[in-house]
């Protein structure tokens, strides 16, 4: 399987960086081809420009400014996102990837006035993220916006039979080495069977 792995963290030696290495290693060990998009390292600009906004609904001209990112996403069978949750949402750089790359004509099509999923090449979708807060705060106080945004809205754009994995690491602020290690080991096991 070809896996598009989108990673958003400015520091390679962060916990997210360790998660990325573990996920990538496990996928490669299982024989998958992995295309890592390291948004910070590739200097991705998350700002949708005035011109991009003007041509936003203009399929297929709208994808010209991000054609390479679209091609990488469209050639994949699986999408994996690895990032920390900041303010209970994706870091700006990843939100910018949603805004600029998941365009009309890429994430959905309008056929005979009806909206249809367009990322039907994606049959596996996994999200690996971390929160400073405890799980109950994220779930019951805040209402888990990120999970809803990804597993409801984004998932809808994918193949009808897409299988999803939600792998959150909570309570990062007080996590000790042992708990971090256990989580990384879990990632390893999970992605070897991906």
């Amino acid at each position: 399987m070809k896996v598009h792995l989108v990673y958003a963290h400015p520091l390679p030696d962060s916990f997210a960086g360790a998660a990325l290495a573990r996920v990538r290693g496990a996928l490669e060990a299982a024989g998958h081809t992995v295309d890592v998009l390291d948004l910070y390292a590739e200097g991705f600009d998350p700002r949708l420009s005035p011109e991009e906004r003007r041509i936003y609904h203009d399929v297929p001209a709208n994808r010209a400014p991000v054609a390479d990112y679209v091609a990488r996403l469209q050639s994949a069978d699986a999408l994996v996102l690895v990032f920390p949750a900041w303010n209970f949402g994706p870091p700006a750089i990843l939100k910018g990837w949603f805004d600029r790359v998941l365009l009309p004509g890429v994430s959905f099509d309008i056929v005979d006035g009806r909206i249809r999923p367009a990322l039907t090449n994606i049959t596996r979708f996994a999200v690996v993220t971390s929160y400073g807060q405890q799980g109950w705060v994220v779930r019951w106080v805040i209402g888990n916006p990120l999970r809803k945004q990804l597993l409801r809205a984004m998932r809808w754009c994918m193949n009808r039979r897409v299988r999803t994995l939600w792998l959150p690491f909570y309570n990062m602020n007080t996590a000790d080495q042992a708990r971090c290690k256990r989580f990384l080991a879990r990632l390893d096991r999970t992605f070897r069977r991906f």
Partner: protein
């Protein structure tokens, strides 16, 4: 009248002639007329840098770290009793540019502190009395409701946690923007004006 109330309006849209810009103008005019002391952060026009980079991440719990380019934001926020966000909802949340403002400006030493060993932050935006969000959605409200309105949860619940002295956030959404008529948009602007004027009066009465 008591001492004037200060407000920060954070505006985010790339296109100058957008409907969001019309909302911003109406909000600014309403606050001016009410005698509120307003600061506008126009993120695209001001060339705001939304990326939280290496240095800032390394120092993310260091309360003394104040990235110099954010000083105007910190100053405006420190006085603001009212914070108003005006933006289009894209992908069920604020545009990346505004998400970058939340990521960078709501930092340790400004919006919260994390005492050593604690797992719960202490909010610091104690002067904020009210958060208002004015946003537009391409989708109809029922779809937004079904998907869970991620942007609303991030700001109306997430940022609200940093403002313990604030009332419940006021959320003004224009849904189904893709099929809205001129009349819908006019009515929405009037509704925004009435609501903002009322909030400004209340904050001024409170002194």
């Amino acid at each position: 009248m008591a001492c004037p109330v200060s407000a920060l309006v954070v505006f985010c849209h790339p296109v100058a002639e957008s409907f969001s810009a019309a909302i911003r103008d109406r909000v600014m005019a309403t606050l001016d007329r009410a005698g509120v002391n307003v600061t506008l952060s126009d993120l695209y026009a001001d060339g705001f840098q939304p990326l939280l980079g290496r240095e800032e991440r390394l120092a993310h719990l260091d309360q003394g770290h104040r990235p110099p380019d954010l000083e105007p934001q910190f100053r405006a926020l420190a006085d603001a009793r009212l914070v108003v966000f005006v933006f289009p909802t894209w992908w069920y949340g604020p545009p990346a540019m505004l998400k970058g403002w939340l990521d960078r400006v709501l930092r340790a030493g400004i919006a919260f502190r994390l005492p050593a060993g604690a797992n719960r932050i202490e909010p610091m935006l104690t002067q904020v009395r009210q958060i208002v969000v004015v946003t537009t959605y391409g989708s109809p409200w029922w779809l937004i409701r079904f998907v869970g309105d991620a942007g609303r949860r991030m700001i109306a619940r997430g940022m609200q946690l940093l403002c313990p002295g604030a009332r419940r956030p006021v959320w003004l959404g224009l849904y189904g923007m893709d099929t809205a008529t001129d009349d819908d948009r006019r009515r929405f602007l009037d509704r925004v004006e009435r609501r903002i004027a009322r909030i400004a009066r209340r904050l001024q009465r409170a002194g």
